[in-house]
Every structure is written in structure tokens, then in C-alpha cells.
């Protein structure tokens, strides 16, 4: 047997909730046994996948190569599938179903790898598959067909209805129902109207929007054109930060090609609808992700938010009705139009439909971009997809929603991801940042990090955010410097709640979240810092002290390494650290081969 004959087939078994209810868990065992019995075990790889969006026909089993989809598979069908298909190479027509949803292609190429198995890619369906710089590639995967479909036989009202019916909610963070936003903009009086794509992605560690635009710019463009058609707008803007040069380059190229093919410009595809898109570069201020600040920035003013209402859908860009959605929201639109609102709303939970993209970063084995159906648990993302905590350390917390979100400890790992359950647990969905924190991180330090970011990015318009975050940061810095005082935690809580209630925009309203959630879930760490001047993760440098224990054999290595000559001692005699001179750089700790330096 040739070497590559080993992996002759890859089976993908749907492990989504609906299929599980129909006993597909049992099927896994039956398949494994049957493969063993027929001596096929090493030639076939079995992967469990997340929901495949074909729930009514489940349990689903897919055979690759060939991408043969079997539906309604029972354990009695398994011997036949192994015998007839895997051994004799003849697919079983009676079980085959011919569903070809847009997202399936991604699965066809990547579905047999565990990392992708539990994912479901709708917005990222073409990312990593097509060449983003060639419109031909996009056209070949039914690109611009959704646009053609609405232009041919769906009225703008019905497009809005379809989006409303799909249950799609804003993916930028707040989760406002997209369809209602579209309807409001459509009904608002005023001309011209505008459409904006918010690609001002600013969360530290988040890269969903960048990857989506870099991997498949046409999807976003197509979504925006449909949005323009549905709301009666004739001009669109993509607000993207200047520090994403490749994304901008690909977007520009895509816009140019779309124009050449007549998908943008006057009388699109021979219809009487005209629409054009312009790119606006942002300078990278975090607050410009807030829609009213973003609109100010496009108008040429300083990026600062203003009170709402009026909402942009009534009075937005240049005082005209404006439809503003996030990149990921736009990327969902063509799929909803082509595969239908009914299909789309069959994925996800009661209140949150479809999928969500997360940028998983931090202390996990596989960092990366993942897209999962709503209702997937945090545990599934962190352990099944991202492979668990790196270096076999212990999980401590997961931070969702970037600097505006909260830190959730282990007991929340089984939280199902949707807008409501995450906010109930004390965090937010946000735009999709997910940072996993292990036992080596200090929660006080982490919340200080996020607050430093928001304090720095506060635009300064409203006092609670401008002054409040500064004062909170002062207190946190004091605590991590070992100068925390009794009552500091309460002060943080009071300030935090005040800032949340009194700030003008989402930046201030959510800035205290990391601090408040870590106080709620890790209060004992704050108390240790303040009362015992101790940091259990050894992350707050000011709180550390270095002493040399009896394990020291007097090798002089640390004495030579110490940059401030704080270590003294003769050869072969135990050394001593002069704590008045020690700057706590940790060089001695790292250099000692005998584990003789005690750091606490």
C-alpha cells in the first residue's frame, strides 16, 4: 500500500445539538466498531463536526473525498456505507442528500481537521478557499448571485422583510436586530441615504474584520450593495483603519473589479438601481468604532460620539438617514438572500441566530480565527477547537469582547454563546475578541491592561469616561505597585458602576467591565494584593521579593548576572540578596540552575 493510501477517506459526522438528539453520538461508536471490524480503521479518519445546518435531515454523515452527504443515517446503515462506499467505492444513492449551502465548500476542504470540525463558516465561507484578489474566484462560488437575485425579483421591502425574518443581529457588539435597523433606515425620510461598513476594528487581539476583508472582500461589498438597494441609498462608505494596508489594497482591487463588471456604478446589472462605494481611512482611534463617532470622522470632524437618539438610521452621515453595519454583519447578507431566512434562523439559539466569528488568542494551543454557530459553549471553543490550554497549564479565565468585555472564570465555561447568556454571565459578545488566560496571569494586572487601553482611547468628551477611567487606573496602578489601601476595591466598584451609567457612548459604558468582572469573579486576588501585598501569579513585579534558599551551592552565576550587584557571596557559600538594591528584574531567577531562588 502506498503511503498516502492510508488516509483514503475522511468521514465527518455531525455533532450538532439537533443531530445529537437523534443519537448521532451512538453512531460514532458504531462507525468506529464497523471500521475496526473491516480493517479500515487506519485508512479512514472520523471527525465530529459542529452543526452543519441540515438539522431537519440529520443525523448527517459526510464522506470525503467526493463530499457525499448522507442524511437520516441510522446505525443499521453503517455496515452498508462501509462496505459499499468505503470498500467498493460506490456511494449509496438512497441515503444521499443534495444540499449545497454556500458554506459547504469550506467544509469540503477543511472539514476533516479537528480545528475546523466544530466550526460552521458562513461569513468566512470563502476565506482560505478563494483568491481574494480575483473576482473570477468569487463569481465561481455564486458571487454576486444574491445581488442579481434581489435586482431580478425581490422588492426592497421584501429584502428588508427577509433580513428581519432571518433574526440576524449586529455583529459589531451591541447585537441590535439588523432587520429593524434596515427597516428604520428604509422608512426614514431624507435623500440621499447612505450605507456604511464599520471596519474600524480596534480591540487588542482582534482580527476578525481584517481577515474577512482580506480573505473575501467581495462578500462585504455585495452585502453593502444589497443594503443600499433595500434602504434606498445610493452611496456607501467602508470605514477601515489605515493600519490594515493589505485589507485596503484588496478592498480597492475588489471595488475596481466590481465596477468593471457592472456590480457598482450606474444602473447596476442593467437595473435602474445605482450605487457606489468609497473607502474612508480611519486613523486608528478606538472610539471611531462607535457609530456616531465614526460618522463624525467620515464628515471630516474629530471622531467623537454624540448622544442618541436621533439614531443614524434617522439622522446619520451629513444629517441623512444612514445604515451602518459591521463587516461580519454585511458578510452574512448574501448568504441569507441565497439560502433563505428560514435556513439561517434554524442555526443558533432562540434569541441569537447564525454564527459568530471569534479571534481566539492568549494561552491556548491553537490560536486562530474560528466561526461557530451561536449556542456553542465557551468550553467547546477553548478545548475542542483551540485544543485547550498551552503547556498544560491550568485554565483561569476567558475574556470575551475585548477591552469592553468581562473575564469569566471556569464555572462559566459551559455558558452557551449568545448575546443574552454572555451578558447574563457578566461579559459581552462584543465584536469577537476572545482571550484565554491561564494561571500565570494576574487578574488585577489584566484588568489594568485593558483599562490602560480604554483610558488611553477615551475621546475626552464626557467627564465620567475621561476622568473616571483615569482615577480607576490610578487605583489599579497603586494596587499592583503594592500600595493598595483598604477600601480600594469598593472605590473601584463605585467608580466603575458610575462610569457605566453616566458615560455618553459605548466606550465609557463598557470600559469598567474588565475591572468589575474580575472583582466579581476574582475578588480574593485583589484582596491579596492589597492586604498581603502578594501576587499569586508572580506577575506584579513590585510585589515580588527574591530570596536565596538553602539549595544554593554558591556557583556565583546569579551574582555575575545581577545588573545592580545586589547579590553577594563567596564561591561555594550560600549567596544573599540585598533587598534594598534589588530591582526585581528576575535575571537571577531565570539563570539559577538549582532552583535556589525563591520568588514570591
Amino acid at each position: 500500500m502506498k503511503k498516502d493510501d492510508k488516509r483514503q477517506y475522511a468521514l465527518i459526522l455531525c455533532d450538532g445539538p439537533a443531530c445529537l438528539r437523534k443519537k448521532s453520538k451512538n453512531l460514532e461508536e458504531v462507525i468506529k466498531q464497523e471500521l475496526d471490524k473491516r480493517g479500515m480503521a487506519d485508512r479512514v479518519r472520523l471527525t465530529l463536526s459542529g452543526c452543519l445546518g441540515m438539522c431537519d435531515k440529520g443525523p448527517i454523515l459526510i464522506v470525503n473525498p467526493g463530499y457525499v452527504i448522507y442524511g437520516g443515517v441510522t446505525e443499521h446503515d453503517i455496515p452498508a456505507i462501509v462496505e459499499q462506499h468505503l470498500i467498493n467505492g460506490e456511494p449509496i444513492a438512497r441515503l444521499e442528500i443534495n444540499e449545497d449551502h454556500l458554506f459547504n465548500r469550506f467544509f469540503r476542504v477543511f472539514g476533516d481537521v479537528g480545528f475546523f470540525g466544530k466550526q460552521m463558516r458562513i461569513t468566512l465561507r470563502n476565506c482560505g478557499i478563494i483568491d481574494p484578489e480575483k473576482i473570477d474566484d468569487y463569481l465561481s462560488v455564486r458571487g454576486y448571485e444574491a445581488l442579481a437575485k434581489v435586482l431580478t425579483d425581490i422588492s426592497p421591502e421584501d429584502v428588508v422583510k427577509e433580513i428581519k425574518k432571518s433574526g440576524l443581529r449586529g455583529r459589531g457588539g451591541a447585537g441590535y436586530p439588523t432587520g429593524i435597523k434596515w427597516e428604520l433606515t428604509r422608512k426614514s425620510e431624507g435623500s440621499p441615504k447612505y450605507v456604511i461598513c464599520n471596519a474600524d476594528e480596534g480591540d487588542p487581539g482582534a482580527f476578525m474584520d481584517r481577515s474577512a476583508i482580506e480573505g473575501d472582500p467581495h462578500t462585504v461589498i455585495e452585502g453593502m450593495i444589497i443594503g443600499g438597494y433595500a434602504t434606498g441609498a445610493d452611496k456607501g462608505f467602508v470605514y477601515i483603519r489605515a493600519e490594515y494596508p493589505l485589507a485596503i489594497k484588496r478592498l480597492e482591487k475588489a471595488l475596481g473589479e466590481a465596477k468593471t463588471h457592472g456590480f457598482l456604478g450606474k444602473n447596476i446589472m442593467g437595473s435602474d438601481f445605482s450605487f457606489d462605494i468609497e473607502i474612508k481611512l480611519g486613523a486608528g482611534a478606538f472610539v471611531c468604532g462607535e457609530e456616531t463617532a465614526l460618522i463624525h470622522s467620515i464628515e471630516g470632524s474629530r471622531g467623537m460620539p454624540r448622544p442618541r437618539p436621533p439614531f443614524p438610521s434617522v439622522s446619520g452621515l451629513f444629517g441623512k438617514p444612514t445604515l451602518i453595519n459591521n463587516v461580519e454583519t454585511w458578510a452574512n447578507i448574501p448568504v441569507i438572500i441565497l439560502d433563505g431566512a428560514d435556513w439561517f434562523s434554524s442555526i443558533g439559539t432562540e434569541t441569537s441566530k447564525g454564527t459568530k466569528v471569534f479571534a481566539v488568542a492568549g494561552k491556548v494551543k491553537n490560536t486562530g480565527l474560528v466561526e461557530v454557530p451561536m449556542g456553542t459553549t465557551l468550553r467547546e471553543i477553548i478545548y475542542d477547537i483551540a485544543g485547550g490550554i498551552a503547556d498544560d497549564k491550568k485554565f483561569k479565565a476567558v475574556q470575551t469582547g475585548g477591552p469592553s468585555g468581562g473575564c469569566l472564570p471556569e464555572e462559566y465555561l459551559d455558558t452557551k454563546i449568545d448575546y443574552e447568556s454572555l451578558s447574563k454571565a457578566g461579559s459581552i459578545m462584543g465584536s469577537g475578541g476572545m482571550i484565554v488566560i491561564d494561571e500565570d496571569s494576574c487578574m488585577v494586572n489584566i484588568s489594568k491592561f485593558f483599562l490602560e487601553f480604554t483610558e488611553n482611547e477615551s475621546c475626552g468628551k464626557c467627564t465620567p469616561c475621561r476622568e473616571g477611567t483615569k482615577r480607576m487606573l490610578e487605583i489599579l496602578t497603586r494596587i499592583t505597585d503594592g500600595k493598595g489601601e483598604e477600601g480600594d476595591i469598593e472605590k473601584l466598584e463605585r467608580l466603575g458602576n458610575m462610569i457605566k451609567k453616566a458615560s455618553l457612548c459605548g466606550l465609557g459604558q463598557s470600559a469598567p467591565n474588565p475591572v468589575l468582572s474580575t472583582i466579581k469573579n476574582f475578588r480574593e486576588e485583589y484582596e491579596e494584593h492589597i492586604k498581603e501585598k502578594k501576587c499569586r501569579a508572580s506577575a506584579c513585579i513590585a510585589l515580588l521579593s527574591y530570596t536565596i534558599t538553602d539549595k544554593c551551592i554558591g556557583c556565583m552565576a546569579c551574582r555575575r548576572a545581577c545588573p545592580v550587584n545586589a547579590i553577594s557571596g563567596e564561591p561555594k557559600v550560600k549567596h544573599v540578596v540585598d533587598k534594598t538594591r534589588c530591582v526585581k528584574c528576575g535575571l537571577c531567577f531565570n539563570i539559577c540552575k538549582f532552583d535556589a531562588i525563591d520568588r514570591r
Binding site: 481537521v113 478563494i130 481574494p132 481577515s211 482580506e214 473575501d216 485589507a247 442593467g270 486562530g368 480565527l369
Partner: protein, 118 residues
Amino acid sequence: MATPLETIKKKRAEAICRIISKGYLSTKRVYVGMATCEVAAGSKEVMEVFDNAIKNGLGDVYLSQKGCAGRCNLEPTVEVVEENKIPVKYGKINAERAREIIERHLKRGEVIEEWVIR
């Protein structure tokens, strides 16, 4: 006049023809990840290696770039797709490994198991 739907069908057919005329139906298709993160990890050099090999006569291979597939820690990534075989995804490919993929996988059909992403 043709409706937009009829127009798009024609456009798709034309697009597919153009893709095929560029060699899409070759026995092997190679995709190199070229998002910002992949480029930062060194995928440009990898792309060059494949590109040069094809220019220098490596036949029956279709080469294309692709966006981010989401495997940040394993970049740069390279996929080799063959009809009727399970696509092979390689992780952490550099110029040297790319040359080896050309020699062993593309020319001799041997999957280099150590670099395959599971």
C-alpha cells in the same frame, strides 16, 4: 434584455472558463495563505518558491493564493488539493519546506506526514 440573474449566470460561466484556462484542471492545486498574518510569518517567500518552480517548468500544477483560514499558530499554511483525494494541509511552511513539498509531494506524490495539520 437579460435579467440580472441571467447576466450573473453568464458571468459565472465566463469566470469559471477563465479560471480553467489558467490551469485549474491540473492534477494538483496548490494554495498558499496570503493574509497579513501569513505574509508576516513568511508566506511571500513560500509563494515565490512555488511560483518560480512553475515558471521553471513544474507542470500540471495550479497555484493560487488564499485568505486566512484561521490557523494563526501554524502559518504559513499550504494546501495541496487533488481530485478524488482528501486535501492535504501543511502548516509552518518555509521556503525550504516548500521546495521539499515540490520535490516529494508534487513530483512524487508523497504526502509529507510530519507537516500535515490534523
